[in-house]
Subunit: 386 residues, 2 copies
């Protein structure tokens, strides 16, 4: 057998080639990632959550320049694979700055993380707790609770999390295995527009803490997850509203026994730092409907438009004149490569082939979701503004 | 600005490193691609469709070794981007062996294809016909008809195709632009289990041919599209049944004026040549439900499991004993990374961490749909059996 390796893993081997300056008008499509914006978003979220450690979720965008800037600004990291561990360490993070949040992990991946000094792992079953105890003895574990995900544009309740009763069993089991049964983790769903979504899981977490204490444990850490939204179509409350609501809920449910807390924002930090610039390759009429075809699509980074879940604000070269509804599609010959159809987008009526369309708030879950080059269309390129 | 290029485009730069032999038990996940099987599938489909040119759809799997073997066996190619044009030419194809089937193309992409000698393009609007006339003057065009996509596991009707009346207008317009109004194209939907799905579009194509002739045209080519299925869960009729049905339909609707015909199979050629081997990273209970986590998932090549559209037959190291239903999930911490849940999969009850699970019929739309490395999990690697 011969071996075809289509591409190298982008993490941690991603390089920011500082000497390569793109042309004044670089070829589309590309993601322009402004690190100052990401750092500003990080600082604002951290300020809105005083006393809470902010662990940037590397999966949202693993650009090494971004990770280094966030580390320098004080951010910690949420990782979910060996490559993400190494990327965070390469950015300057200490192993103690990392939470390994993937609830089901390959055993050798846990071992590798442990070898590099990672000591905090999320689990949600007895089986995984056994695995962590064997592969990373003496570490701390957080047990992830299931949440309904209501109010979020990209719910996460399907795959991970257990009930409060199971969490008590998991954490008690962790104690017997010599682990630090550190506490609880949950995730309210990505792009969560309702700060109130934290109410039920914080209340549930407090119940778990009480019951684990009653069984002899000393839980001390609550992982409030991610879900902090970016300003996309439909808007969202500001970070301060999330911080205030969460602070109130912690007081209400934990009172004087408030544990250490951490959050894992991805989109909330990096989405608004990214603008994805595309070019119109064609505007055609299908019956009464105008279709705008772009040179970026579902397979070049815009996977989150599936089911039209994430709606990016759009700017064009022709803004200012009259607009009308249109379907927006990507460049591949795959029929799944349609961004917005059920709810059409208003775009200028004179938008034409060769015009540029910019998708705002596109710094998260785009370059990393891109395919290796489906249909011969290259993966999304990032131009970093350092 | 500095530039981060996450990965190089895999087409046409994919290399088959013949000197690199994987270990006897290579690290999972990987796609094992047996080129003899692909060639056998090609030959069987070609034999089932006598007189019809078979253009392998490069998008299904652009492995350069595969393209070279298919070319040597007599296959032509269906391409949809400059990279796919170059990959087909690199495999030995002549430009006249290519149909550029993407109905909406970037103008410079058409120019590049034309520069390399490609002379057959699919369109489905007046606007795109103008574009082809300008960028590839004198070429032949096929106008794509819309089809309902019923009976297919991955319908394609959403994005492309026009009505018969519009097709007549498009082809008549092509004549006035000095193009060869060659005929009609359609696509019945990928993994199409019903040979009867070709009936309505062949009848519609014949009507278009008649009307174009009445307007002075001389249509001569019918592109019967792809959709030829692989043997996945649920089964499908053999290629011979498709060939017989299509032959009957061509006789019925075109009689003595049967045009030249071509097909564009992707999955039907390459799917059964591929086995995707994964390893179980964990088996956990969520309430009453058993969850099996694999080290390959939606973001490492198994996108077609979204909505559980494509169901791969599974083999495991533990086959033979009692089985029970389970949910099957991938390794990333993304909740969308679940392969089969609504309809669970029967797998051995003693399946455990470290066991291997093989997905059959996985040669198409896997390695090319893989992300660049979301969540730090590398893109799917292919091991070619030449």
């Amino acid at each position: 057998m011969s071996t075809t390796v289509p591409v190298r893993p982008p993490v941690p081997e991603l390089r920011t080639a500082g000497s390569v300056l793109p042309a004044a008008r670089p070829q589309t499509p590309f993601l322009r990632l402004d690190l100052d914006v990401a750092v500003a978003r990080y600082r604002r979220l951290a300020a809105a959550l005083p006393g809470t450690a902010v662990h940037y979720a590397v999966k949202a965008n693993p650009d090494p320049g971004l990770l280094a800037r966030l580390h320098a600004a004080g951010s910690r990291f949420d990782v979910a694979s060996p490559a993400e561990v190494l990327a965070a360490l390469a950015a300057g993070a200490a192993p103690g700055d990392l939470v390994y949040s993937n609830p089901v992990k390959r055993r050798t991946d846990i071992e590798l993380a442990h070898l590099h000094g990672v000591r905090l792992f999320v689990v949600d079953t007895l089986e995984e707790t056994d695995k962590v105890a064997a592969a990373a003895p003496g570490s701390a574990v957080l047990c992830r609770l299931v949440t309904p995900g209501e109010g979020s544009d990209w719910p996460l309740s399907r795959k991970y999390g257990c009930s409060t009763a199971q969490a008590v069993d998991v954490l008690t089991h962790a104690l017997t295995l010599g682990l630090d049964a550190a506490g609880v983790s949950f995730h309210v769903g990505s792009q969560q527009r309702d700060p109130g979504a934290w109410a039920a899981p914080i209340a549930a977490s407090a119940r778990v803490f009480d019951q684990v204490r009653a069984r002899g444990g000393r839980p001390h850490l609550l992982d409030l997850g991610g879900g902090f939204p970016a300003r996309l179509v439909g808007g969202c409350p500001p970070p301060e509203e999330y911080g205030a609501t969460i602070g109130r809920l912690l007081d209400q449910h934990f009172g004087a026994r408030r544990p250490d807390t951490l959050v894992e924002p991805g989109r909330g930090v990096v989405a608004e730092a990214g603008v994805l610039t595309t070019e119109v390759i064609g505007v055609v009429r299908r019956g009464e409907v105008r279709w705008v075809f772009l040179d970026a699509g579902v397979f070049t980074g815009l996977v989150e438009t599936l089911e039209e879940a994430i709606r990016y604000p759009l700017e064009t070269d022709r803004d200012g004149g009259p607009t009308g509804p249109c379907v927006v599609a990507g460049p591949t010959c795959d029929s799944a490569d349609v961004l917005y159809q059920d709810t059409m987008v208003d775009l200028p009526l004179d938008l034409a082939e060769g015009d540029r369309v910019r998708l705002l708030g596109a710094g998260a879950y785009t370059s990393c979701y891109s395919t290796v080059g489906f249909n011969g269309f290259p993966p999304l390129v990032t131009h970093v503004v350092p």
